[in-house]
């Protein structure tokens, strides 16, 4: 669902800390009409211009909190990511992205399902890798976006 609308088009920007570009950010929405408990959010398959940025390089900012790793979000078992709310995906990538247009391929992994599934026990110990289609909730395919980098000085 919402295949072409999961990333806000003007949201791709480099992230600057202490004068250095440490990575980039993207504003994303939940692909499922009911949102989810944050603990169920299992990260993103993310590829920019052919380079993959694994879950270990991603942190997620939502609900007015500092960005948290997806390992940390596993413990947010009573905190909900509401359907209405945008989350900000931070990606560690020293030097960031070059100015101009980029091809971003993305898939959101959320371990929400209808009831018990044969994969449940396996996913407790070994959650699926985002991008494989497993644990992808309502948008099972990787979606491709053509986005232009917004200059960092315009960031908030």
């Amino acid at each position: 669902m919402f295949d072409n609308f999961l990333i806000r088009p003007d949201s791709l920007r480099n992230e600057v800390q202490d004068g250095e570009v440490i990575g980039f950010t993207l504003a994303v929405r939940h692909a499922n009409y009911r949102g989810c408990y944050l603990s169920l959010h299992n990260g993103y398959f993310l590829e920019v211009d052919g380079t993959t940025y694994p879950r270990s390089s991603q942190t997620f900012e939502v609900n007015g909190r500092e960005p948290r790793s997806f390992e940390a979000l596993r413990t947010a078992v009573w905190e909900h990511w509401d359907y209405d709310d945008e989350g900000l995906l931070h990606v560690a990538a020293p030097g960031g992205l070059a100015p101009g247009e980029h091809i971003v391929r993305l898939q959101q992994s959320v371990l929400a399902a209808y009831g018990y599934l044969p994969t449940d026990e396996e996913w407790v110990t070994n959650p699926p890798e985002p991008g494989t289609g497993a644990g992808s909730d309502k948008t099972p395919q990787i979606v491709s976006y053509r986005l232009t980098l917004t200059e960092p000085e315009m960031s908030r």
Binding site: M1, F2, D3, N4, F5, R29, Y33, R34, G35, C36, Y37, S39, L40, R74, T75, V77, W78, H80, D82, Y83, D84, L111, A112, A113, Y114, G115, Y116, L117, D120, E121, W123, V124, G133, A134, K138, P140
Partner: protein, 374 residues
């Protein structure tokens, strides 16, 4: 008494996503623009700040019901068994979530809590005493490809009869009366690369299953959810393996496709496999079950004008006349709530191609009004 009309706010999920209609605007649309519809159904996690919307929200909510002449009919709740991530939730933990949601529903004035079709029956039994105490009816959704003749219905009726409880029932989702893919769904598969011959093969197979002429038995599939069947079929395509009760039907789809489609790809097999997702349930069984129906999900994917009848609409892939007729004949006098699901079949395109949920629901309400009065 006659059937009453309402709307599941699920229908407005896209308008909510794009911030075109917030919750109040959705309720206003139901109360003011649907010719006397009064019922509000919602999904707790979609429409409320879950799990606790807070006291200020409750006050606003009750004020909206008064202001727009609507009433809370049903709250739909979920069950995410991996919520705690370090273990799979036990049935007891699932019952605790359900009990929480029953209390939340009560605080908002709802009389029904809809559980998912796949909730194990003992979880509902654990929550039943609280539901009785708070006078909330628990309705288990019966959703395609399940059917009214199956175990999911039998076990809830058995529990209601055994406990003597009037607080247990079923929520038929009228998608169980869908008998082929709608044009909106076929076009969506087409844009993802499904050949025209595969789309035709899907409709031909679906109609063949409906009239009993299909060359394989797919009745083992009725126990599964459509979502789970789809993932199992995707796994079958990539690995050749499938659960025992699904394998023969999956092989049947593959043969059916190979015989009708040139060089079929995965998407061709997938669109044909959609023919397995329909319930082929009996309207007469719905008539018999009417006393157990808490309310009805009026599922639809695409309302188009009835040819030759300006201003009248139908979903030409779902047998609404049979379903509404059966509910009437069975004496059902509860709510039928519009549940539009077709918006997702346009979201792979541009903003200009998106469907108007408001218009689609208005058309569906036109049809409901006409069929209820017929």
């Amino acid at each position: 008494m006659t059937m009453k009309r309402g709307v599941s706010l699920y229908s407005y999920q896209q308008s909510q996503f794009f911030k075109e209609l917030d919750l109040e605007a959705q309720i206003r649309e139901v109360g003011q623009n649907l010719g006397g519809a009064t019922g509000i159904e919602l999904i707790d996690e979609m429409s409320l700040h879950y799990p606790d919307p807070g006291p200020e929200f409750l006050a606003r909510w009750h004020h909206w019901m008064d202001e727009y002449g609507t009433r809370p009919v049903a709250m739909d709740v979920g069950m995410d068994v991996l919520q705690f991530r370090d273990h799979v939730m036990t049935h007891r933990e699932c019952a605790d979530r359900l009990i929480h949601d029953i209390r939340l529903a009560k605080s908002l004035g709802f009389g029904i809590v809809r559980t998912l079709s796949v909730v194990p029956i003992d979880i509902m039994e654990m929550a039943l005493p609280i539901a009785e105490e708070l006078d909330i009816r628990l309705g288990k959704e019966i959703h395609q490809p399940m059917r009214l003749e199956g175990q999911q219905v039998a076990e809830i009726i058995e529990l209601a009869d055994r406990t003597g409880s009037s607080h247990l029932g079923i929520v038929p989702d009228l998608g169980i009366f869908q008998f082929k893919l709608s044009q909106a769904q076929l076009a969506w598969f087409g844009r993802r690369g499904a050949q025209q011959s595969a789309q035709d093969a899907s409709v031909e197979l679906a109609l063949g299953i409906r009239d009993g002429s299909a060359p394989f038995d797919h009745t083992g599939l009725f126990a599964h959810t459509a979502g789970n069947l789809r993932s199992d079929f995707a796994r079958y395509l990539s690995s050749g393996t499938a659960p025992a009760d699904e394998l023969s039907a999956f092989e049947g789809v593959k043969t059916w496709t190979d015989e009708r489609v040139d060089a079929p790809g995965a998407i061709d097999y997938t669109v044909v496999a959609e023919a397995l997702m329909f319930s082929h349930t009996s309207a007469d069984r719905l008539r018999e079950l009417a006393p157990y129906v808490t309310h009805v999900h009026g599922k639809f994917n695409h309302m188009s004008e009835v040819p030759g009848r300006p201003g009248q609409y139908h979903d030409d892939a779902i047998d609404y006349p049979a379903a509404i007729g059966a509910l009437k004949a069975g004496g059902f006098d509860g709510y039928v709530n519009s549940e539009y699901e077709g918006q997702r079949y346009w979201q792979d395109r541009t903003v200009d191609d998106l469907q108007s949920e408001v218009e689609q629901v208005r058309r569906h309400q036109e049809m409901l009004t006409r069929l209820i009065a017929a």
